[in-house]
Amino acid sequence: MLTRFLEITRDRINRPLQYYQDICVRCGACMDACHFYAASRNPAHIPAQRMMLVRKALQGERSWLNWYRDADRADGRQVSEIQQAMWECTGCRRCATFCPFDLDTALLVSVGRYALMNEGTGLEAETGHGMILEIGNAEISKGEIIEDLKEFYIEQVKLLEKRVQDEFAPDLQIPVDKKGAEILYVPLVGEHATVPAAKIFHAAGADWTMSLFTATNHSFFVGDMARAKQAARLILDEALRLGVKAIVYPECGHATRTLLSFFENWFGEEIAGIERMNLEPLVASYLEQGKINVRAGAVDTPITYHDPCNLGRNGGFFEEPRSLIRAVASEFRELEPNRALNWCCGGGGGLIAVPEMKETRMQAGNEKAEQIRRTGAKWVVTACENCKTQLGDLNEHYGLGVEIKGVTDLVADALIL
């Protein structure tokens, strides 16, 4: 059992993971940091234990020292524990923030998931990760159909454009496939990821065009870097074809992480001339430079901000969203703790796409729900699609009585033209 898993894991253990294997002292700092463990008290959820389960499996194969290393041969229980340890994690890296050695459990989970997928442990149905694969594959095959679809797609964007014009500004445009535009904005499924951005770009007088694709990259969630790169390639090719100066990603955490941390390595020279950024810092810079103006105090509802892990501790954008919120809202309350130490919403790492994970997600969001309740805020604002869906589910599950919004929703609604 687990032969393929062990093969792949051994092959994909890189330097930081080798450090993890060798130097983790099992001090337990990570267990107090993990929202999964905080809610479940299941040992397989302790980040250090996630590594130990893999390490034990790796060592269990050989060695007369097993009695001492506490390594057991792979059996059914072990497989299901590893399965849990790898899938019931949002890869938020809160544990790494507290770790005295900055050991990165998200990296382990990325490798572990990929290895499990290739093993085919027969437990897929339980964790339901097939759905993530399915979406990942669809993202890639979009590249093959887009030419046939283009006309229909643009036609539909025009319909949307018409609606936004009626409601917002008659001269607003949502350009698609526009050669020579400065900015290629890659949206998400759902007009909520298009409309606020379109309004802001319009107000800032930006020269932009919308992508035919969406930013999400579900292959990334399962550590399938070859496929993740394939999906990302579609965006790069589009950017090159249109000759844009910058690629801008929407309020989506994992996609932003691929853009800011992986594109450079994946595409090297090809991407070198194209700037890469997330919408939040871009809009914050518009505001700072006076390219857009907003009504100060447009929102007087008590409001709080949830730092998405991939924008906050994994992306470094702590202040930009806050500056936008403060410009619009008169009563901003911080979650405690916040910024790099913020609790994960419990829906990241692709879990939101797995229907079977709903209960686990709600459990893992317990800390988050309590955090929100303590602020007494009525609106919870964030900058990641995953977080928004999860927060919405938590709102219902825990009866928080809040409204979930995106940072750019706030800005778009307060724009002065």
Binding site: M131, E134, I135, A138, T214
Partner: protein
């Protein structure tokens, strides 16, 4: 165009990403092979997503139409 009767309807309007695909996939799995799902969406992104999903899963996109700004897709479960 082939004749078909809709077995089930899914309203994917206003759903967050990637829920339109997730719900469709779930819904299709509940249906009988050969059954047709009607899907409602309002944003262009999910249109492309749906078609790509059909392609990569081998399900058949029978028809698509636009009525009052609402897009309707008809997908036949193949396997």
């Amino acid at each position: 165009m082939a004749e078909y009767t809709v077995e089930s309807t899914l309203d994917a309007r206003g759903l967050n990403c990637p829920m339109p695909v997730v719900r469709t996939s779930q819904e299709i799995k509940k249906m009988s092979v050969g059954g047709v799902l009607e899907l409602l969406a309002t944003d262009p992104g999910s249109v492309a997503d749906m078609i790509a999903w059909c392609k990569s899963t081998g399900n058949e996109l029978l028809d698509r139409k636009t009525e009052d700004g609402v897009f309707r897709f008809y997908i036949r479960r193949v396997n």
